[in-house]
């Protein structure tokens, strides 16, 4: 994702809340400290379909915002 972002492609990484710090560290190590992150509640493993849907809704809102920010 860092490489795609460096090449000017709109990118974002989805991570759950406990992995936010790791994701930020990795983005910085990859040379893109401002890499957009879509943060969803934890956990995802073993989640029911309803929970997965709610995670997707949370991610969708952030994704739209990222796209709007890029267009501006």
């Amino acid at each position: 994702m860092c490489e795609l972002q460096k090449r000017g492609k709109a990118t974002a990484v989805v991570c759950s809340e406990p992995f936010y710090r790791l994701a930020k560290t990795q983005a910085a190590a990859g040379g893109v400290p401002d890499l957009p992150l879509i943060v969803i509640p934890h956990p995802l493993g073993g989640a029911s379909l309803d929970v997965v849907q709610s995670r997707a809704d949370i991610a969708y809102g952030q994704l739209l915002q990222i796209i709007k920010d890029i267009r501006q």
Binding site: P18, F19, R21, L22, T25, Q26, A29
Partner: protein
């Protein structure tokens, strides 16, 4: 004079107190180390360590995930001093780091995973015996300086060079005490099998270091079986709950 061969004083260094307690406090405040006391890595001590290294002291031999810090002999030597290594242990520490730089080892995965695995260093061959790396009773600790400090040096490198900080670079949910230090030699003299490095195709008499992302040790204990089937059931039952990741190896030059 190239940058690779400059005296340590002329390379980027951190000013820190060399008094034992002050250095320990400095590490705690600066976020270095594993929480245990350290030997202050003064220029003189690091120089003594580097006497056992024939590589350019400031040339990276690998990068350490997840922070991708450059592991130079100088930095590795500083961590080896902090861990309490004797200078003659340093080649084993260097080999361990080099082995973890192999892409097949997947150091990022080992460092960042939620699983409680950590590099286990297994030494084969004559150098391990010369250094008295324990392969017998209580080989995984605690006790001998060689096992303790070699394993600790590697793990300090993972923390200090690689940035494997809890919750930021290291996501191990519970971790393992093996993350402090995890090093032993194979008990070649008493094993009914060929030494592991010979089995893997290295020549007889060679010294090798194998790094395996492993959980803490797990005993295989059977006091009751009187048949091969019984012993095999115990072995299988134990193996079924452990899952080491693929090892990578390096031979001493």
């Amino acid at each position: 004079m190239t940058n690779q061969n400059r005296p340590i004083e002329q390379l980027p260094c951190i000013e820190a107190p060399d008094d034992i307690e002050a250095a320990y406090a400095f590490c705690e405040q600066s976020g270095f180390g594993d929480g245990l006391p350290i030997i202050p890595p003064t220029v003189e001590r690091v120089e003594r360590m580097l006497m056992f290294c024939d590589r350019p002291r400031n040339e990276p031999i690998m990068t350490v995930a997840p922070g991708y810090g450059e592991a130079t002999p100088l930095r590795i030597a500083a961590n080896a001093v902090m861990a309490g290594c004797r200078p003659e242990y340093f080649p084993i520490v260097m080999l361990s780091m080099e082995a973890m730089g192999d892409e097949a080892y997947n150091l990022y995965g080992v460092q960042a995973t939620t699983h409680p695995c950590t590099p286990l260093i297994i030494v084969n061959g004559p150098v391990g015996r010369e250094l008295e790396i324990n392969s017998g009773y209580r080989a995984f600790g605690a006790g001998p300086r060689s096992n303790a400090s070699i394993g600790r040096a590697v793990h300090l490198c993972l923390l200090n060079i690689g940035g494997a900080k809890p919750g930021a670079g290291d996501m191990a949910t519970a971790g393992t005490p093996a993350k402090y230090s995890y090093c032993a030699a194979e008990n070649e003299a008493e094993s009914p099998w060929e030494p592991f490095n010979i089995e893997e195709g290295f020549p007889p008499g060679s010294t090798t270091v194998t790094v395996v992302a492993a959980e803490g040790p797990h005993n295989v204990n059977d006091h009751e079986s009187t048949s091969a089937e019984g012993i095999l059931k115990t072995m299988a039952g134990t193996v079924a709950i452990t899952a080491p990741i693929m090892p990578t190896m390096r031979r001493a030059r």
